[in-house]
Symmetry: C2
Subunit: 352 residues, 2 copies
DNA sequence: CTGAAAGCGCTTACAG
DNA sequence: CTGAAAGCGCTTACAG
């Protein structure tokens, strides 16, 4: 008798009206109780709660948002490169944590570096009337988001900056971290340092390449194009290309890999050739088990949790009314020496 | 003049009414065009589209769902253990792919094995009126979801079955996969095989333990409690416990680890002691780089993509009206021999 | 402290 | 093929 409401067909959901009827109060009183307005007679509150519970009443966020002044949907969008890669997944999870604490749900999406998909997903977010968006964009022209911004939806960019749009952004210091890594290799005597990079269209991939170039330039080294391979995306492609470099006439003595899958690919190529004690490598982005390989892999580590928290803090501040000028936050990278980056040049050829 | 609508303050969004006024048609005609109803004069279609585009009109899903007969929000919930772990993230991503193809957005959430959080997040999904839910539950009593089901919201369980609720479920064959793994170790002569397991409250952790027990029983071996460690969650805890086992009087000659973090912890403990060529180990769940360790790690691999696709296919079939009895799908595991599971018993102590 | 009326943006059900 | 009216579930704005 408590669970079953007679005369209701399956598919039925209780509404405020039903709760009001059962509690013998007006709709508006139910609304007050559900929204915890303090000015309701405790006895009525009790009656309404009992009725709501009996009918398993769940408020309809959509209907409430429709009429509300602020129109808030209690939903944000988190649109990243690929939620199945650890960097994106960690960011998503850290944002989720802060969102939940505010009673906000998260609509997640992955772009896979496809600008078309970015348009579709942001458009979908707009139709769902999300309250705000955290985005690691795939495209390079974000003017189209202007309308959403003007409609009051804050955007916080992560990992990659907005182009032709004024918005908050949280970035890793990719260039400095990369430059530092390459200088580190040079300190161990390396001069022929190969660079493996992701798609040139990706902001961070370009930054990491620039860091590599700057480090070479600072040592008066000439950039050698034969040692640079870009537009690599997968372990396999990096493995093939690194292998070709190692098999060439004048191979590199060290690698700097601009992304963790590329690092792994290069490590595979090096090990295939039994060169793991002779060829140095530093990777951008840490990865699980990097410390268990032999030698353990030296990396430039990002801090995705800090990036996510910074971004979510910015977003929620905007939602709470902060209308100060847009800001750009830089999250520093850290350098983790583990062995593979500390193989000196002289080791090359030693016991071949 | 195209981007700016005079007299509109920031925060303004065009509605169908605005589009109708600009296109000089009725609201209903705009609705027809937006919903691609075929019975509209092409000239009016054109006028409406132009007006919608000029005003940057984006339909309001919430308002539309409110009035619609089916009440569909074009949203599903995907609630998993932890979206930042690779198993959950892969499932999420594969579901996302299928959802996008249907124009459905995904609300994601993580339970972290907390039943309280499961209640909060499912309740939140209900208030958002999601059309369906894919869930890897943390709790063991799902009667409370009955109301949502009756309201027409299909639930598909993944990785863990529903309890006290009739719903579709997609599971890995954990028990068989585990039993196979342990028998594999026995084939290499091992008799003292340690088990490392996750929380006993987790369905799959229990199944894997049962598989371990069955394999021992099938060989007439007695289960030795000193070789069993459960309720382990992290790399660190597994590393400590595995280390204690290895340092004990009569240490195991092999490990079966019921989860990838536990496998990694055990591998660390084994390597700390320089025993990697003497102690065998098989892990449940594959992980990136398992093949690059020395020896490479033998695992029972799950197929999260297949689990996700099976679950999403079931869910969307339900949304399309399938009301056949609930089904239980089993996704087989596969065994990947890489070396660590093929270390024979005789190797123990050889060169210590 | 409580409630009746209007309206959020849209679709339904109907009339022309 | 097109449109005016009603209503989805709720909150606002107001009156008592």
């Amino acid at each position: 008798m408590i669970d079953v409401v007679p005369g209701r067909t399956p598919g039925y959901r209780a509404t405020m009206k039903d709760v009001a009827a059962l509690a013998r109060v007006s709709l508006k009183t139910v609304s007050r109780v559900i929204n915890n307005e303090p000015t309701v007679n405790p006895e009525l509150v009790e009656r309404v709660r009992r009725a709501a519970s009996q009918l398993h009443y769940q408020p309809n966020f959509g209907a409430s948002a429709l009429r509300r002044r602020d129109g808030r949907s209690s939903t944000i969008g988190v649109l990243l490169e690929d939620l199945s890669n650890p960097f994106s997944a960690t960011i998503y999870r850290a944002v989720e944590e802060m969102a939940i604490a505010r009673g906000v749900s998260v609509l997640g999406g992955s772009f896979d570096e496809d600008p078309q998909r970015e348009h579709e997903l942001t458009s979908s977010m707009s139709r769902h009337r999300v309250d705000g968006v955290i985005i690691a964009p795939a495209s390079h022209d974000h003017q189209y988001l202007r309308q959403e911004q003007m409609a009051g939806v804050p955007f916080v960019f992560v990992d990659r900056p907005p182009h032709l749009l004024d918005a908050d952004v949280v970035l890793s210091n990719s260039r400095v971290g990369s430059s530092h890594a390459v200088k580190h290799l040079m300190r161990y005597g390396h001069r022929r340092i190969a660079f493996l990079g992701d798609l040139t269209t990706i902001y961070t991939a370009e930054e990491r390449y620039q860091g590599y170039c700057e480090a070479l330039a600072s040592a008066g080294l000439v950039l050698e194009n034969t040692l640079v391979a870009r537009d690599l995306r997968t372990i396999e492609s990096a493995q093939v290309v690194a292998g070709q470099l190692l098999d060439a006439q004048d191979p590199p003595s060290a690698f700097f890999a601009g992304q963790n899958l590329l690092t792994i690919g290069a490590v595979r190529a090096i090990r295939e050739r039994g060169l793991q004690q002779r060829i140095a490598i530093v990777g951008f982005d840490d990865f699980l088990l990097a410390d268990l390989l032999e030698p353990a892999v030296t990396v430039v580590a990002q801090d995705p949790i800090s990036i996510a928290r910074t971004a979510a803090t910015l977003l929620f501040a905007r939602l709470d009314g902060d209308d100060s000028p847009s800001t750009k936050k830089i999250v520093e990278t850290s350098f983790i020496s583990r062995g593979s980056g500390e193989i000196p040049l002289s080791a090359r050829g030693d016991s071949r």
